[in-house]
Symmetry: C2
Subunit: 204 residues, 2 copies
């Protein structure tokens, strides 16, 4: 999974497998919980119950609430990045659509709750800031690769960054209402602008 490493264990394989499966169930339940109930409604107990895991077992994996929810957002972000990286060679328009899709749906919703909570809670702030920077760099790296963008050309780096900023803003616009129809038109237009900009500067 890259960033997310399982707890080290020299125990027998089946036990280690079970532990990994428990951890994964907790992480997935935590993201769903955060997306649906926000930070205020998200505790280790609620997630343990949702995952069908005892509170003690949950705390063995994640000693604090902050541990659980930052690990959960990172885990799902990394899952999404892996899926994105494995996309076969596609048109730039399709890549732009896939990038924008990262910012709609439960993962973005969960991450947004965590960011906003971190802006008022000192215990979360440092960890979420670091997490956001790491996930942001990784997403940028993947975007550059999939778009075939040559960042040595002046302006290309900022063009790709602006695209990801727009994707984040589109995710926010989708928070309260289904913005899919408008989003599709905006993404289509900006994919054309991007194509014109990157067209002549891309790597072969």
């Amino acid at each position: 999974m890259g960033f997310v490493t399982s707890p080290a264990g020299s125990a027998k394989e089946p036990k280690q497998d079970r532990s990994r499966a428990t951890r994964q169930r907790l992480l997935e339940a935590a993201v769903a919980c955060l997306a649906e109930r926000g930070w205020a409604g998200s505790t280790v107990s609620v997630v343990a119950e949702r995952a069908g895991v005892s509170r003690g077992a949950a705390q063995h994996h994640f000693p604090t609430r902050e541990d659980l929810f930052t690990a959960a957002v990172e885990y799902v972000a990394e899952e999404r990045s892996s899926a994105l990286r494995s996309l076969p060679g596609q048109s730039r328009a399709a890549v732009v659509s896939a990038l924008v899709d990262l910012y709609t749906g439960p993962l973005f919703r969960a991450a947004l709750h965590l960011w906003v909570a971190a802006s008022n809670e000192e215990q979360l702030r440092g960890r979420v800031t670091e997490l956001e920077a790491r996930v942001g760099r990784e997403t940028h790296r993947i975007a550059v690769e999939l778009l075939g963008a040559d960042e040595t050309v002046p302006g290309v780096r900022e063009t790709v960054q602006g695209l990801l900023d727009m994707a984040r803003g589109l995710g926010l616009a989708n928070l309260l209402t289904d913005d899919a129809a408008r989003r599709k038109r905006v993404v289509g237009q900006w994919a054309r602008l991007l194509e014109e900009t990157l067209g002549s500067t891309s790597r072969p």
Copy 2:
């Protein structure tokens, strides 16, 4: 003030003036409170104390917590829009900068807390959705005007919308860290792309 109308009153001017001044102090205190403490930490009592107004007087103006905070975000958004509309004729790059500035700082922070809270709280959801749509339409209208964009040309409407989505995403990127240096480079690059796109299609 546009959207925000003062409570109707046929009383003598000084009393009406006092009432309007109280209301304004409450609205400004509410936005600051929301930006600093988030939705969970924002109540009518906290705002009344901050504004130096009795809780009873605050409730006379705003019977519920939802009334106070949605009115506050709308009031400050309208103040910002007025300031933006009164900008003298400027270059497109300067207009893009001014538009992006709408999404950094306390107003955006306060609005973000309200949006995110509304995504989990039924009492807020309808009102905030309507508020967001109204403020969004007004901001779009102002952007089109200041940029001198001709929306009858295919793609121009979506170009302006995408710019505002990018501005919103840049606001989010500024939530936990000071993103000003990166933002300036991104905005500079996309202002150039926008100029190329709108250049030939703008109104005289």
